[in-house]
Symmetry: C2
């Protein structure tokens, strides 16, 4: 090691047994073989080499910060998504500037400006403002909602998820299906859940109905619709697909309050894959979004200079899991590592 | 406005009708009257004035970023805490670098180094590594666990919360009380919940028992203890205080599986104030931590240059709310703005 107290990149290269250029590539976030990255990282850790990112920013004009623009941290879907994105970025040596907009388009614009002022290297955004991100000067990847053909978007395969929900309900003996959707008017990839569901119903000649509510204030139309189809504790449908797990839970509680047993009389499937914080089980039978894969894909798209070919929407495969609201067994334990008494509860 | 395309601070001062120094104070994050801050912010927005924080960092040696070191994003308590901290920081013009450690002390150290390399202006940490933060060169405020008398710590008033739980159970007719605690061995402010509970039991001459489990892997000792006190569907206790809402939920499910009705036969109070994502109601009767006040206090302590006098642990007042596991009514709706069909569910 040289005589300075601080080890240099050369010291790290010697310790790792790699070329200086390889160390530079790793420290500057450029692609390099995983084995080389690990050797360089191990050597840097051993020598206690500290990158001065602030000085590095001056030299390379990179900040090694990515801005994350997300609508909420209170909903477990967004919290889990931010968790995966933060982990994927940290693995690549990037810090994450998390900005929460609380679904407020004004706040989204303010956050966007704030992020740009701080010269992040890129932005991953799940926004409710369709005109927002296309003006940005830094690379952007969106989640669930594409704004422009040139801006890559990552989502789960919502159409296939809708198909899977219908197929599963039919497999479990349902004969009269219902799709319930409530959400904002602004278009998103999530809008494909219903068409996927209806596609299977039509192709199999299954009787079905759909209720799509564009309402930002109340779910009353959903309960009014269900009440109209309720008679003497019997519902006209025996299988329901809800566009989110949250709606599925509320529909379940509504039906049970009205004497309809779930899953004995009516089976319900939601969408998202929300895991209960206390039990570690899925909160309902559900189509699980592959959050880890979505986060990895979003980060890879953002950090690579290449734009994907074609439509630039990456739709990643979903899975179905039972969660107690269908007749295929009790709620499954989540495999996302959420439930572990130590990891979830000990403070 | 001057002839440059970019407005200057002088333009903002003129527009806001304040002195240039006031604009400078606002942009540099120094204390200023709320009315002045609002006028400056409105003027800056109107003129589309953009602070170049990167250049500003060079001049003032400030980054206007705060590092947040948190153990988890998957647990709703931590997610809500991070949400409040991020909002409090953004309100003051600071970005938040969120680092999630997943309870791994190695990851905590790595995050700490990463944060320091990026020269954040301060760190707010909830860590599980008692030797970690005292070495830091930047200002630090901790949550729930104090490492050093010179490092301010913010928590809820855990002792008073324990007292409130006992008082409420007695008020609701319980006569034989139980305190259940499971958690890691490392000390924290949360350890005061049990002593607060026992204090009331002793002072009122109430029969009580306590089970404190230091275990990081399993909650089995809790269920073994309960099983020993269960006979023919009757539990030896009629009021239980659990050290977290998660434990309260699991104890409730365990008792109901064993034929003990909650809250008819046994009443349970948890701690934290977790709100169910689907219904917007508290998941159990609980002592609610004042997350917004805790976040504001932590941010104020961090950004002010003054160290608080005395022990430097700020313990903020808690409240009790019914949540369906006590006989004082059904689950209350949370007031944290979590449940709103649009805000929680629409994607």
């Amino acid at each position: 090691m040289n005589r300075n107290l601080q080890p240099t990149m050369k010291d790290v290269a010697r310790e790792a047994g790699v070329a200086l250029g390889t160390v530079s590539r790793v420290f500057n976030g450029y692609p390099v073989g995983e084995e080389y990255r690990e050797r360089v990282e191990a050597a840097a850790e051993k020598l206690n080499y500290r990158i001065n990112n602030y000085a590095r920013g001056l030299k390379t004009n990179k900040t090694f910060c990515i801005g994350l623009l997300m609508p909420s941290l209170r909903h477990p879907f967004f919290a889990a998504l931010i968790d995966e994105l933060t982990a994927a970025l940290m693995h690549r040596g990037y810090l994450t500037n998390v900005m929460i907009t609380n679904f407020d388009p004004g706040a989204e614009l303010k956050c966007f400006n704030l992020i740009e002022q701080n010269k992040v290297d890129g932005i991953i955004a799940l926004t409710y403002r369709p005109d927002l991100v296309v003006e940005s000067a830094v690379p952007v990847v969106t989640i669930d909602r594409q704004f422009h053909p040139a801006i890559p978007c990552v989502s789960s395969d919502n159409f296939r998820g809708g198909q899977m929900a219908a197929e599963k309900l039919l497999e479990l003996g349902c004969r009269k299906l219902l799709f319930l959707r409530i959400g904002p008017e602004i278009q998103s990839e999530a809008d494909r859940r219903g068409p996927g569901f209806e596609d299977v119903c039509r192709r199999t000649g299954t009787a079905y109905d759909s209720l799509l509510v564009n309402d930002e204030e109340t779910e009353a139309p959903v309960y009014q619709f269900l009440s109209r189809h309720l008679q003497d504790g019997h519902l006209d449908f025996d299988g329901i697909f809800c566009n989110t797990d949250g709606l599925a839970r509320r529909v379940m509680e509504f039906l049970e309050r009205n004497g309809v047993r779930v899953p004995d009389e009516v089976q319900i499937i939601g969408y998202d894959g929300i895991i209960d914080f206390a039990t570690g089980c899925y909160v309902c039978s559900t189509i699980v979004q592959p959050l880890r894969q979505m986060a990895e894909a979003a980060v890879n798209l953002l950090l690579s200079s290449e734009t994907p070919a074609g439509e630039a929407v990456l739709r990643l495969p979903v899975t179905y899991v039972p969660g107690g609201t269908t007749r295929d067994g009790p709620a499954a334990v989540g495999d996302s590592g959420v439930y572990n008494p130590f990891h979830t509860e000990f403070r």
